[in-house]
Amino acid sequence: MATPISASTASPTRTIPDDQIVARAVDLCKTYGQGDSRVVALDHINVEFQRGHMTAIMGPSGSGKSTLMHCMAGLDQPTGGQVFVEGLEVSSMNQRQLTQLRRKEIGFIFQSFNLVPTLNAEENIVLPLQIAHRPIDKDWFNTVVRVVGLEQRLRHRPSQLSGGQQQRVACARAMMERPSVIFADEPTGNLDSRSSREVLGFLRQSVEEFGQSIVMVTHDPRAASFADRVLVLADGSITMDMDHPSYDDILEVFANPDDDQFDTATANGEVAL
C-alpha cells in the first residue's frame, strides 16, 4: 500500500526516511465556498509526520492548522491532494473504512475533553477498545492509568472530575488503544497552566517511553515547546518548520508579526484568492 514519495514534493519541510513516516499529506488542498466567497484553508500542503515524535502545528486563527489536522485524521474531506496514515490513503476512504481507521490507527484528544458523561473514568478509558471489540490489555491499562495518575479516580463520573483530571482521562483513552498517531486539538486550551503542564508532561512521557506519535494543534507557545518539531501555518501554507525549538525560539517567531515570512504568506494567500 505504501506509495513512494513522488519526486515532485516541493516541500519546505525536510525529508524523512519512508519507514519513519507515520502520516503524510501530499499536495493537500481545502477550500470552502464558491466564487467570490471562496476561502482557501489549505493551499497545496506537503508534510510528513515522523513516527515516535511529537509534532506541534501552530499558527494564528484562520491559518488552517485545525483544518490540516482534521484532514489528516479523516474528520474532514480534502478538496484536493491525498492523506496517508500508515501508508493507507485516508482521503479516499468510505465511512466503514474510516471507522476501522479510527479504531486501529488514530486516537483523539479534544480541547473540551469530550468524555461520555454517563460512563465513569475507567469505562471512558476502555471505551474505544470495547467499541472495536478488542481485548483489554490489563497491564497496559494499569501502566497508562499510572502514567496519568488516575488510580484513585477510576470510579468517578466526568462530572465529578476537575478539568485537568478529565483531560487526563481523555489522554489515557487515546493512549489505551496504542494508535499509530494521536491527534490532539488544542489539548490544553481549556486548562489552567498547572494542569496544562501536567497533561503535556504525560504526552511527552508517552512519546519518550512508549514511542507514541502525536500531532498536536496549539496556539500556546508553551505547549509547542514540548514538541520535537513545530510547524507554523499561515493562510493555508507551512511557513516554518522548527526542530526542537526552545520556548524562546517560538516566542520570537510570534513576537514579530511584521516579519517577512508573514507578509509573504499573506501575499500568497491573496494571490490564491
Binding site: 466503514r96 458523561p117 454517563t118 460512563l119 467499541i131 472495536a132
Partner: protein, 963 residues
C-alpha cells in the same frame, strides 16, 4: 418581535411537522367525538320526531316506584343497582292506562285522532330469496298502522295499509333491501311463529331508521302481539293524540291541546296529557344517556394524543430554543426584553397550534363522515347531521391552541430568562430530583389500591363499614376512583421508576451488547421526566386495553368453564329474534329422532317477591338439575337439594337473590303474580251495552229523520237518515277487542325456599316447577326461553344437530347450538369488542411512536457532541443506530410494562368485583400481553430510525468541533 417570531416559525416548519401531527390527531379526536355525539343525538331526535310524532301523549298519572327497571327481563334487575346506575338508566315510568280511553279522547274538541300505538319488536322478515333478513343487529319492528291508527310522519307511496292479519306494508328501504315488491307473498316470523303474509303497501318515513326494518301491520294484530309479548292485556303505556292529521302542532298548540285534554279526562282514567315535545325530549335524553359512553371513550384517546402532543411540542421548542440560544442572546444584548423573547417563541407556538387545530378539525370531520359512510354501506343509513357545529370547531381550536401554548411556555420561559452570557455558552441545567414525585405518586397509587380493596370488601363482605350510606354505595364508584388514582399515581411516580426500570430492563441489552447496550441504558435515566413522559402515552393506552383484555378473556373463560364443567346437554335452542320459543317449535325439536331428553326453561312474567320487588322467576323440571346443569349449592354449608325442592314444588333461588332479599333456606316467602284474564261475563255485558247504545242512537236519529220528513224538510231528513246509516257503519268498524273487559287477579302463593344455588348463570334467578308456574301465570305469561337437549346415547351428535336444524327450518328464527357453538356465541361477541380495542391500541401506539421519535430527536440534538465523539473514536454507524434503537426500545417497553401491570391489576379487580355477575374465572391473556411487549420493542426500534438517521447525517467534525 412578531415578525421575528413569524419568520422563525416559517424556518422551523420542518421541525414542527411532528408537533402538528400530534395536535392534529388530538384535536381531530376531540372534534370527532363531539361531532359523532351530535350526529347520534341528531339521529335519535330525528327518529323520535318520526317514530313518536304525536302532538300530545296521554299517559298514566302516577309515577311508578321504579329504581330497578321493572318489566324488562334484564338479569341485572337484582344486582344491587350497580349495573343500572352504571348505564345511567334514569327514565321514569308511569302506571299503564286502558287503551279504550282513546275513544273518549277522540271526542274531545281539537283532537283529530287518538290511538294507542302498538310496537312489536323481535320480528323477522323473510326476503325475496327465502332467507331471513338481518342487518347488523338492527331490529325489525312491527307497528300497527291503519285507519284509526294514523302515523303522521309516514307517507303511503303505493297500495294500502295492512287491513288483516295476513297483510303488511313495508318501507321502501325495507323493500329495496329484501328484494320484495308490493303484491309479493312472503313470511314474517312473529312471536308465535312464522306467518304467510302479502305485501300490500309501501311507505316512506320522514327520517331514516338507522337500519331498522319497519313493518306496518294491522293495528289489531299489533295489539294482540304486543299483549302476548308483555303478558298484559288492555294496558298501554301511552296513547298518542294528533291535533291535525297533516301538520304537526307547534309547542304552544301542543300545550293548549294537552290542557284541554287534561280538563276533559275522567278522573277514573288515572291519566294525564303531556305535550309530544316533552315526551320526545325525555325519550331522546334517555337514549342519548345510553349512548353517552361512546364519547368519553373517544375522549380518553383524545387526551392521550393531546398529552403526548403537549410534550412533543415542549420537546420541539426545547430543541428550537436550544439551537437559537445564541440568537436570543444577541437580541437580548441589543436590548430586547425577556417578554419580547418569550413572545417570539409563543408566536411560533400559536402558528403551530393554529395549523394543527385547523387540520385536526378537518380530519375529525372527515373521520365522522367516513364512519357514517361506512355505516351507510353496511346497511345502517343515518340522516343525522354530520357537520361539526361552530361550537365544536371553537372547542377544537381552543384545545389545540391551549395545548400548544402550554407545551411551548416552559421552553419560551427558558429562552426569555437565560442571561445573555449563559445563553452564549448554552449549558445544560441538571435535572431536579424526582423524589417528591415518587412520594406523591406512591401515595396516590396506594390510595387507589385502597379504593380497590374497599370495592372488593363491598362486594364480598356483607357490611364492610358501620355507615349504611357507604355500604349501599354502588361498586362502580370506588372502582372508578381507584383506577383513576392508580393511573394518575403511576404517571406522577413514573420519573422515579425510570432508574429501577433502567437497571432491570437494561440488564439484557447491557449483556448482549456490552458497549451500545450500556450506553443506551444509561442514557435512559439522563432526563427521567422526559423518559417518563414519553413512556406515559404507551402506558395509558396499554393499561386501558390490557385491563379490558383481561376482563374480556375472563368473560370468555367463565362461559367456557360454565359449559365445560356445568353443562351436560348436547344442544341449546333459542329464538334468535325475540327470545321466545313457541310450544310448536319446542314440540318439533322434541320429536326429532335421536333426542333423548329435552328440558325447556321458561320465564314466568309479572311475578313479584314480597309486594313490589320485581323478580326473574323461571320454571323448569327437576331434570334441569339432574340432566343439564349440575346445581352448585356452595361448598361451605348445606343449601338444600335443588332437585328435591323442584320436585316438591318448593322455590329454588340463586345466591344473589338470597342475599338481596335476605332469605334463608327453609324460610317461607310470599310470591305474587298478577294475572290479567278476559272477564267473559263483563265482556258480554259491555258488548251488549254497546250494541244497545248504537241501536239507541240510530233509533233516535231515525226518529228525528221521520219527524223532519213529516214536517216536509226532505233534504234534512235525508241527511239524518244518512247519519243513522253512518253510525251503523261505524259500529261495524269498531274493533271488538276494544270492548273486551279484563279482570286482574292477583295470585299469591306462599313458597318454601327449598334450595339456594350458586351456579353463576342462575345467581339472580329463582326456579319453580312447571306446575307451580302454571298456577302463578297464564299461558301468555309463561314463555319458553330456552330448550336444552341431550342426544341419545351413542348417537352421532352432528347428524342429530342437522336433523334438529331441518326441524326448525320452517320457523326461521330458532337457533340450534351445540356445545362448542354455545361457547363461541359469547366468544364471538367478545372478539368483536376486542377488535375495536385493538384499533384504539394501534392508535395510541402511533401517537406513542411520535412521542418516542420526538424525545430521541431532542436527546440526539442535545448529545450531538457526545455522538460525534463516539464516532470519532471508532463507533460504527451500526453501533450508533443500535444504541438509539435500544434506548427507544427500553422507553417503550418501560411504558408497556407499566401499562400491562396496571391493566392486569385493574382487570383482576373488575373481575373479582363482578364475579357474582358471571365473571367466575380469571383469565389473563398472557399470549396477547406478550405480543404487546414484543410489539413495543418493535415500536421502539421503528421510532429510533429517523433520529438515528439525523444523528449520522451530522458530520463527525461538526459534532466534535462545534465550540
Amino acid at each position: 418581535m412578531i415578525r421575528i417570531g413569524l419568520r422563525d416559525a416559517r424556518a422551523h416548519m420542518g421541525r414542527f411537522i411532528m408537533s402538528i401531527i400530534a395536535i392534529m390527531l388530538g384535536v381531530s379526536f376531540v372534534v370527532g367525538s363531539f361531532c359523532f355525539r351530535d350526529m347520534l343525538n341528531n339521529q335519535v331526535s330525528q327518529m323520535m320526531a318520526t317514530n313518536a310524532d304525536a302532538d300530545v301523549y296521554v299517559r298514566g298519572a302516577t309515577e311508578q316506584h321504579n329504581d330497578k327497571s321493572i318489566g324488562t327481563d334484564s338479569s341485572s334487575s337484582s344486582d344491587s343497582g350497580a349495573s343500572s346506575s352504571l348505564t345511567g338508566n334514569t327514565s321514569t315510568t308511569y302506571n299503564s292506562i286502558n287503551p279504550n280511553l282513546a275513544q273518549t279522547l277522540s271526542k274531545i274538541p281539537g283532537v283529530a285522532a287518538a290511538s294507542p300505538s302498538y310496537m312489536v319488536s323481535g320480528l323477522v322478515l323473510v326476503g325475496a330469496n327465502g332467507n331471513a333478513r338481518s342487518s347488523m343487529g338492527a331490529p325489525t319492528l312491527g307497528i300497527g298502522v291503519g285507519p284509526g291508527n294514523e302515523w303522521r310522519s309516514s307517507t303511503l307511496t303505493k297500495g294500502h295499509w295492512a287491513e288483516a292479519d295476513n297483510q303488511i306494508a313495508l318501507t321502501n328501504e325495507a323493500l329495496d333491501k329484501s328484494g320484495l315488491t308490493v303484491g309479493d307473498e312472503t313470511t314474517v316470523v312473529f312471536g308465535d311463529g312464522p306467518h304467510k303474509v302479502k305485501v300490500v303497501g309501501a311507505f316512506n318515513t320522514a327520517s331514516s331508521q338507522a337500519g331498522a326494518t319497519i313493518i306496518a301491520i294491522d293495528p289489531a294484530l299489533a295489539k294482540s302481539l304486543s299483549e302476548q309479548s308483555t303478558g298484559k292485556s288492555n294496558e298501554v303505556s301511552q296513547i298518542g293524540v294528533y291535533g291535525s292529521k297533516t301538520t304537526p302542532l307547534d309547542e304552544q298548540q301542543q300545550q293548549q291541546l294537552a290542557d284541554r285534554i287534561n280538563r276533559d279526562l275522567p278522573k277514573s282514567a288515572d291519566a294525564h296529557a303531556v305535550t309530544g315535545d316533552s315526551v320526545r325530549d325525555e325519550t331522546t335524553k334517555s337514549v342519548q344517556d345510553q349512548m353517552g359512553f361512546v364519547q368519553p371513550l373517544i375522549l380518553i384517546f383524545a387526551i392521550i394524543a393531546l398529552f403526548v402532543g403537549s410534550f412533543i411540542i415542549a420537546n420541539t421548542f426545547s430543541m428550537i430554543v436550544h439551537d437559537s440560544m445564541r440568537g436570543y442572546a444577541l437580541l437580548r444584548s441589543v436590548g430586547a426584553s425577556p417578554l419580547q423573547i418569550f413572545m417570539t417563541v409563543i408566536i411560533q407556538a400559536l402558528v403551530l397550534g393554529l395549523v394543527g387545530s385547523v387540520l385536526g378539525i378537518a380530519l375529525g370531520w372527515g373521520m365522522v363522515r367516513l364512519i357514517v359512510a361506512g355505516l351507510n354501506a353496511a346497511g345502517m343509513p343515518l340522516t343525522g347531521a354530520v357537520d361539526p357545529s361552530l361550537t365544536d370547531m371553537i372547542v377544537g381550536l381552543v384545545v389545540g391552541l391551549v395545548v400548544t401554548i402550554v407545551g411551548a411556555a416552559w421552553p419560551a420561559r427558558t429562552a426569555a430568562l437565560a442571561p445573555p452570557i449563559q445563553a452564549m455558552n448554552a449549558t445544560v441545567n441538571p435535572e431536579k430530583p424526582v423524589r417528591a414525585r415518587a412520594i406523591i405518586g406512591a401515595v396516590m397509587t396506594v390510595l387507589g389500591a385502597c379504593c380497590w380493596a374497599f370495592t372488593w370488601r363491598l362486594v364480598n363482605v356483607d357490611d364492610p363499614t358501620p355507615w349504611k350510606a357507604v355500604n349501599d354505595m354502588t361498586v362502580g364508584w370506588p372502582l372508578g376512583v381507584g383506577a383513576a388514582l392508580v393511573v394518575l399515581g403511576v404517571i406522577v411516580m413514573a420519573p422515579a421508576l425510570v432508574s429501577p426500570a433502567q437497571a432491570v430492563l437494561g440488564w439484557i441489552p447491557s449483556h448482549l451488547f456490552p458497549v451500545t447496550g450500556r450506553l443506551a441504558t444509561r442514557n435512559i435515566s439522563r432526563a427521567k421526566r422526559r423518559t417518563a413522559n414519553t413512556a406515559t402515552a404507551l402506558f395509558v393506552g396499554v393499561a386501558i386495553v390490557g385491563c379490558l383484555a383481561v376482563v374480556a378473556s375472563s368473560a370468555k373463560a367463565s362461559v367456557n368453564s360454565l359449559v365445560d364443567t356445568g353443562f351436560k346437554g348436547d344442544f341449546v335452542a333459542m329464538n334468535a329474534a325475540n327470545g321466545q320459543l313457541t310450544d310448536e317449535q319446542v314440540k318439533a325439536m322434541e320429536d326429532v329422532k335421536g333426542i333423548d331428553t329435552a328440558v325447556p326453561v321458561s320465564a314466568v312474567m309479572g311475578v313479584t317477591y314480597n309486594d313490589s320487588d320485581p323478580s326473574l322467576v323461571m320454571a323448569s323440571d327437576p331434570s334441569l338439575f339432574t340432566k343439564i346443569f349440575s346445581p352448585d349449592t356452595g361448598d361451605d354449608e348445606q343449601q338444600g337439594d335443588p332437585v328435591a325442592a323442584l320436585r316438591d314444588g318448593d322455590l329454588v333461588i340463586g345466591a344473589q337473590v338470597a342475599k338481596n332479599q335476605d332469605w334463608k333456606l327453609g324460610q317461607t316467602v310470599t310470591v305474587r303474580a298478577k294475572q290479567v284474564t278476559v272477564d267473559e261475563q263483563a265482556t258480554r255485558q259491555a258488548q251488549a251495552q254497546y250494541q244497545q247504545h248504537v241501536q239507541d242512537q240510530i233509533m233516535q236519529v231515525q226518529q228525528e229523520a221521520q219527524r223532519l220528513a213529516a214536517q216536509g224538510d226532505l233534504q234534512q231528513a235525508q241527511a239524518k237518515a244518512e247519519e243513522a246509516q253512518k253510525i251503523a257503519e261505524d259500529a261495524k268498524h269498531v274493533d271488538p277487542m276494544t270492548l273486551v273487559k279484563t279482570r286482574t287477579d292477583t295470585v299469591t302463593k306462599k313458597l318454601k325456599i327449598g334450595a339456594i344455588i350458586t351456579n353463576s348463570i342462575y345467581r339472580t334467578m329463582a326456579f319453580v316447577n312447571n306446575k307451580v308456574a302454571d298456577e302463578l301465570g297464564t299461558p301468555q305469561t309463561h314463555m319458553t326461553m330456552v330448550l336444552y337437549m341431550i342426544a341419545d346415547k351413542g348417537a352421532d351428535v352432528a347428524s342429530v344437530q342437522r336433523k334438529l336444524q331441518d326441524a326448525v327450518k320452517p320457523y326461521y328464527v330458532v337457533n340450534i347450538m351445540n356445545r362448542d357453538e354455545f361457547k363461541s356465541t359469547m366468544a364471538t361477541m367478545i372478539n368483536s369488542i376486542l377488535i375495536i380495542l385493538y384499533a384504539l391500541l394501534a392508535l395510541s401506539i402511533v401517537i406513542a411512536i411520535f412521542g418516542i421519535v420526538n424525545t430521541l430527536a431532542l436527546s440526539v440534538a442535545e448529545r450531538t457532541k457526545e455522538i460525534g465523539l463516539l464516532r470519532a473514536i471508532g463507533t460504527s454507524n451500526g453501533q450508533v443506530r443500535g444504541m438509539l434503537g435500544i434506548e427507544a426500545a427500553i422507553i417503550s417497553v418501560f411504558g408497556t410494562l407499566l401499562g400491562i401491570i396496571v391493566g392486569i391489576s385493574a382487570g383482576m379487580v373488575i373481575r373479582s368485583t363482578y364475579a357474582n355477575n358471571g365473571l367466575t374465572q380469571l383469565a389473563i391473556p398472557w399470549g396477547e400481553l406478550g405480543v404487546f411487549l414484543v410489539l413495543s420493542i418493535v415500536v421502539g426500534l421503528v421510532a429510533s430510525i429517523s433520529p438515528a438517521h439525523h444523528a449520522l447525517k451530522q458530520p463527525v467534525l461538526d459534532a466534535v468541533a462545534s465550540e
